[in-house]
Structures are given as C-alpha cells and as structure tokens.
C-alpha cells in the first residue's frame, strides 16, 4: 500500500515533506528540465528584495571537503521583476511556491511581506534573517532575539499568508532565537542557514572568496543542523523545516525523526538538479520497505 507522504506545514498542504532551499533552485524554472515539480512538496524562491541586487564580486564560491562556501551576496531580480517575469512560471506549476525575502531595515521587511502577500501564486513567505554574506539585512537581524522579534512582528502584521522564519546557526543559543520568532508570530521555523566559514589560498596568501568569508553548506554541516533542529523542536510548538547537508532520503528522514515536519534540499540540487525529486521518491520507498503507513508518524519520533 502506498504510504501517506503528505504533511501540513503551517496551513500549506504539502504532497510530501521535500522542499528545495532558497538560493539553490533559482526561481523554479531553471530546474524544469530536471525535476517534475509535481513530485516535490514545495519550492522556495531565491531571496527577494525591494530592489534588484547584483551581488558580490567573484570568486563567489569555493569547494571544501564535503561542502562548499558561497558568498553570492543575495543577487536577485527584485520584487517588481519577480512579479512580471517569474510569477507566471509559478502559476504554471502544480506545486506550492514559497517566496524567500529580506530587507535592509524592519520597514523594508514589512514592505516586502506586504508586496508578497498580494501575489496569489505565493503560498507562503520565508523571512531570511540569516544571510551571512551581506552587511545590511539578513544576519544582523538573525543573531539577536529582540531584533529578530521586531522583524517577525512587522512581517506578521503585513501578511496573512503562512510566515516561515529562516534561522541562522551563527548564534550562541539557537533556541532563544527560535522562541523569540515563535512569540513574535512565526508560523514555522526553517533551520539552518549556512555557517560562516572561510577558505585560504596558501600560495597567494589570500582568502579564496572575494568576500573573504562565506556561507558553508553541504553534507559536512549535517550533524550541526540535526542537533539544532532537535534542540529547537523540543522548545517550540510551531512546525520546523530541517535544512543542512541533506543529500539523500536517509538524511531527510533523520531530520524528521529529530523533529522536522518538512525538509529543504539545497546544495544537493547543485550536484544533481533532480535531487529533491529523487529524495522524495526514495523516502516513500523507505516507508514502504519499513512498513510505515504515514510519514507524519516519524516527526519527532526519535527515541532517546
């Protein structure tokens, strides 16, 4: 018998728990050739801002053992071009699209939430308070509970759509950040964004990335992500989206045991553009092989 793969993410029904992470899946259409959109739970757009952003100088990415560093700098088309050029594609696919966004100020965050709230094709909003690669916006709000709460409250007041807050791992106490965002009105939490890292070119005696530091992602960060998801899941009531080095179905299912209702696949899509679809299919096969009738029964089912 086919297992029930569906989950409900803060009011967004997902056919399965596999989503694609912001910044690793473009605006969806880049992957149309490789992924049957109707085979994944949802996809998250590249982080959007009020004005288009050109991003950081190059080199922007470098590979490290089991992972990669990126310092793209939130390059995106801006909200206006998103509406005219990217939303028509969202309309054509039978899969919820969640818009990731950021601002330089609390007011900009709220304005973005308002603009995105008006787009019927956007099923939910993911607030990025955790980009490590830009000076303003992002991480300055993501490392202090009070600042995070002020951003989340402002966005909450500006939208009725499900509001997800994406948390940074670059904090001393991720649970305190999670609680602050939940109290401020977040409907769900996604974690983790990338860890701040760096790579050095010994012969040139220079950093490899033009930005010097970058966000570390890939399978190398999975143990940290799992630990943070497990800690936060015990502390909050809102659903959690587990992110961090998920390369296959086993990784994804481990995040669900740790307490995640859904997962996001990121770096894996760079290596195999069809990764999210394959992971969803393999998760279903694992459920069948292990006699699990409903994937929801795995959420937080870790035995300790």
């Amino acid at each position: 018998m086919k297992p029930d793969m569906s989950v409900n993410l803060a009011g967004i029904p997902l056919r399965n728990p596999v989503m694609t992470a912001s910044g690793t899946f473009g605006y969806g259409e880049e992957f149309a050739e490789y992924v049957d959109m109707a085979s994944i739970g949802a996809f998250i757009t590249k982080g959007l801002s009020l004005k288009a952003r050109a991003g950081n100088p190059t080199p922007r990415i470098v590979e490290t053992p089991g992972g990669m560093l990126n310092a793209i700098g939130l390059q995106n088309v801006g909200i206006d071009a998103f509406i005219t050029k990217k939303v028509p594609y969202l309309r054509s696919v039978n899969t919820p699209a969640i818009a990731n966004f950021f601002g330089n100020t609390v007011d900009e965050y709220a304005e973005m939430a308002r603009r995105l709230d008006e787009i019927p094709e956007v099923a939910g909003l993911e607030v990025n308070i955790s980009c490590p690669n830009v000076k303003l916006g992002g991480i300055v709000f993501g490392t202090d509970p009070d600042s995070a709460a002020s951003v989340v409250s402002a966005c909450r007041a500006a939208t009725k759509k499900p509001l997800i807050v994406k948390l940074s791992p670059n904090v001393t106490d991720v649970v305190a950040m999670a609680r602050a965002c939940e109290d401020a009105g977040a409907d769900a939490l996604s974690l983790i964004n990338t860890l701040i890292g760096m790579a050095i070119d010994l012969n040139r005696r220079r950093p490899v990335l033009a930005n010097i530091t970058g966000g570390f992602s890939g399978p190398a960060i999975k143990p940290i992500a799992l630990r943070m998801v497990w800690q936060v899941a015990k502390a909050v009531k809102v659903p959690i989206i587990g992110i961090g080095g998920i390369m296959n179905a086993v990784d994804a299912l481990e995040f669900m045991l740790a307490g995640a209702t859904a997962v996001q696949v990121g770096t894996a899509s760079f290596i195999n553009p069809g990764a999210a679809q394959k992971i969803a299919e393999d998760m279903e096969a694992w459920l069948i092989a292990n006699g699990v009738a409903d994937i929801k029964s795995l959420i937080g089912a870790l035995e300790t």
Partner: protein
C-alpha cells in the same frame, strides 16, 4: 540532459593534459561548439561538486563487436589542476561518469565568406576544436595557439588535419615563435584585406589582450570564459563575470553558465 557516459579512452596527450573520449546519447550530436558539460568525478562527497569542461569533439565510432552500429561519442580535453581532475585522469576505459549537458550558449559561427581567426591559450583549446571543425566547412580558418612551453601546445596536428592553418607561440620559445600568441595574431591582422571574426579561449590575460586588439580594429570577437560554478544551470550564481558597464557602484554581472560561456567580447568589462 543528465546521462551516464562510459569512458572509451583517457590519454595523457602532453604532460598534465588529458583527452578523454566517452559514449554520449544521440542528443549530444547536436551540441554546439562552445557548449560545456558538468562532470561528476565520482559518487562520493569529496569532491562534492561537478566540474565544468568544454566539449572538445563530438563524433561517432563503431563498437568492436560484430554487427554494431555507429554510436555517438564526446571528447573532453582537460588539464590536471586539482583533486577532481587528478581523479578524472586516473579513470580508465569502461569506467562510468555522470554528466550534465550540453550546457550554455555556444559560438556564433558568423558569415561564411570572412576569415575565422581562432586564438587558444593552453587548455583553452578545449572548446575550439569542435568550433574549427564547423567553421572550416565554410570559411578559411587560422589557429593561433599559445602556451608557456611546448607542453602547453595541444592537439595541433588534429587542427592541421582539418585544414586549419596553425601558428604557435611559446613564452620560452620551445615551440613556434618565442613570445605571446597575440603577436602572431596582430601580424596576421596587419596583412589582412577582408573581414574576419576572432574566437578566443584561454587565460584571462590573453583574452583581455585579444579583446583589446579586436576592439581597437573593430573586429567582431567572441570569447569563451571559465568560471567557478556549482550547478551549471544558472541557479548558484557563483560563476558571474563583470559586464561592460560594471563598476563597484553599479554592478553589472553576467552568468557564465547560462548567458555564456561564450560572450561577444564587447559585452564584457576588460582591463584598460
């Protein structure tokens, strides 16, 4: 397109430079010169990312078994620069590779009656052989191949076999002229009467010089760029190159994998 290729041969053609032939699906036969593929070296997580390689050649071969029909093949020319390419060079015939491609925009083949001048530096020759093979069908083609030493001048006999007139230059004078390949290019341009198009691929310094020569003489010029990229499909935005109007205050970036890797030289920002 994503496919599994079987390696047919993997040969060191010059110290540190390898040429690999592999099976390819029929769709690859229509790959345009200048397009590239993303190769996963193995199934492990180190190296994690695919590696981009220009398509050196596309053709067909007949497998050894009796009654076999001709099958398409694809070739890559690559230099061992790090862990990923070192692992690639250790692979043998019948090993399998996971390939994404052909990707990106290729070269514009231009008007048939004008002369085509191809400039390649070192492993920059990789995407230029398939280009020469197409161009020679309708145009006079000259190749200007440069490198630090004779070891960096690759597969010249293959170009000559196509009927391409080849000029070589090495910085140490160990093969061809002693000096930069752009000097030979300039001399040819000085002799020329009719129209020409320049095609170039190689180190950034060489491309910069070629773009400058082309701009000075108002000759159409296309360059193929390299970039650090994770995905090859326009999602990671790692491989951007500065466009013509780029400045730190008003950034203008072009995505190498989807808007390129071939660009009109005039579209890009070059050093003055």
């Amino acid at each position: 397109m994503q496919f599994t290729a079987m390696i047919l041969s993997n040969v060191e053609v010059s110290p540190g430079y390898w040429r690999m032939r592999m099976t390819a699906p029929p769709e690859c036969a229509s790959a345009r010169p200048g397009q590239f593929v993303m190769v996963r070296v193995n199934g492990a997580i180190d190296p994690l990312l695919r590696r981009p390689f220009g398509i050196f050649d596309i053709g067909s071969y007949t497998p050894a078994q009796s009654g076999a029909h001709p099958q398409p093949y694809m070739e890559m020319l690559y230099r061992v620069v790090g862990k990923g390419t070192a692992m690639l060079s250790a692979l043998h015939g019948s090993d399998l590779l996971d390939i994404l491609g052909p990707l990106g925009k290729g070269f514009d083949l231009g008007a048939p009656d004008e002369e085509k001048l191809i400039v390649g530096g070192g492993v920059g020759l990789a995407p230029l052989y398939l280009l020469a093979k197409e161009l020679i069908k309708e145009s006079k083609v000259r190749l200007f191949a440069g490198g630090r030493t004779r070891d960096d001048i690759l597969c010249i006999t293959e170009f000559e076999r196509l009927g391409v007139e080849c000029y070589t230059a090495t910085e140490d004078g160990s093969l061809g002229e002693c000096g930069l390949v752009t000097e030979a290019l300039l001399r040819r341009l000085d002799q020329m009467q009719g129209g020409a198009t320049i095609y170039a691929c190689g180190p950034h310094g060489m491309l910069n010089a070629v773009a400058g020569i082309a701009a000075e003489r108002s000759i159409p010029c296309q360059v193929s760029l390299e970039g650090y990229m994770a995905c090859g499909v326009g999602a990671c935005l790692g491989c951007v190159a500065p466009g013509r109007s780029h400045s730190p205050e008003t950034p203008d970036f072009r995505c190498v994998c989807t808007e390129g890797p071939v660009f009109e030289a005039g579209e890009l920002k070059w050093r003055e």
